[in-house]
């Protein structure tokens, strides 16, 4: 795949001149594997979905006259009877997701070096981090549901808090879960040698999806948990 794409643009310029070249050459515009271009287009559309959720959250939060529950209090957690530490579980989840992004970046790198074993191991490590993230999210949901948070109300303030929380973190968690499955499937195929001839772009494409999931969490963390 990479050979055919590379021959098309050996003479091509970069930057804005390259933009003009790519769009006016009456040939393939994006000089990347088609799977990568399609993944990017999917991710752009997914950006719109998550932004709609976050904008919806922003709108209900600015427009409600009911007081918004304080996230630092709601998401505090005690360990062994200590005073509750604000947002500690969310901080751990953030670090886990960043770490999984790091291992994913390394997997892409080892993939292009054709080190199948390291690639598959790093992808499975990434998937394991993702699974633990979903596990913690399940714990958090359970805790909040036990305390009376529902999509239509909660014991502390604006009822929209629950609907936004379940909608946004649920949709993100669904993406993480799908990513764990996706990673596991690709890692297995890497080990079985499915990409020996095709090349390892698939690892980078899987990585794009995974980094996107991490990227969305950056915004959820800032706007929902810290705001």
């Amino acid at each position: 795949m990479s050979d055919t794409a590379a021959t098309n643009i050996t003479e091509s310029r970069s930057g804005m001149a390259g933009l003009v070249d790519d769009w006016t050459s009456d040939k393939q515009t994006y000089h990347v594997p088609w799977g990568k271009a399609m993944m990017w287009i999917f991710l752009v559309s997914d950006t719109f979905i998550f932004t709609c959720f976050l904008v919806g959250y922003m709108t209900v939060r600015t427009s409600t006259a009911e007081p918004w529950p304080v996230p630092a209090e709601v998401f505090a957690l005690s360990f062994f009877g200590s005073d509750p530490i604000p947002l500690i579980l969310i901080a751990i989840m953030t670090f886990i997701l960043i770490t999984s992004s790091g291992t994913m970046a390394l997997a892409v790198n080892y993939g292009y070096r054709k080190d199948k074993r390291m690639t598959a191991i790093l992808m499975m490590v990434t998937a394991a981090f993702g699974a633990s993230f979903v596990g913690m999210q399940a714990f958090e949901w359970t805790k909040l549901i036990t305390e009376g948070v529902r999509p239509w109300g909660n014991p502390w303030g604006a009822p929209q808090f629950g609907s936004v929380f379940f909608m946004v973190t649920g949709f993100h968690g669904l993406h993480v879960t799908a990513g764990v499955i996706y990673l596991s499937i690709v890692a297995r195929k890497v080990i079985k040698g499915h990409y020996d001839k095709k090349g390892f772009e698939i690892v980078e494409i899987t990585g794009l999806y995974w980094h996107f999931v991490d990227l969305v969490w950056v915004f959820i963390f800032a706007f929902f948990y810290l705001w």
Partner: protein, 126 residues
């Protein structure tokens, strides 16, 4: 041009960005932990968030090494979302104002304190 041969870069850059993302996450957590409020809080949260997002997109997702045609396809359309955000900020504030001015809502209402249900530390949060 690396984009065509597949994105291949030295491992060091990934490790550096990884550490940087850790530091930035810690800093944004500390904003909450030390309970900064007001303009300082919002600007720090937004700055750390944008830096993290920028590094993930530029380095981990390799956008800084892609050709301009793909870069603009990725980053161009989301610009429209900034308008949506702007419109809805204005709309949200208008609705809030209407609820206060015409429906008697209390603009200074405080949320109820959170009591966590725990096995051995009931009510420990306050």
């Amino acid at each position: 041009m690396s984009a065509e041969a597949g994105q291949q870069h030295p491992l060091g850059i990934y490790l550096k960005i990884w550490i940087l993302l850790f530091v930035l996450s810690t800093l944004s957590y500390l904003v909450d932990y030390f309970n900064f409020q007001g303009l300082l809080r919002w600007s720090l949260i937004i700055i750390f968030m944008l830096l993290k997002a920028g590094f993930i997109i530029a380095i981990f997702m390799h956008v800084m090494w892609e050709r301009m045609a793909l870069v603009l396809t990725i980053l161009g359309p989301p610009v429209a979302l900034l308008f949506l955000i702007g419109f809805m900020v204005s709309e949200g504030h208008y609705t809030f104002g209407a609820r206060v001015d015409h429906f008697g809502a209390n603009p200074n209402a405080q949320p109820l304190p959170v009591t966590h249900i725990g096995a051995d530390h009931e009510g420990a949060s306050h």
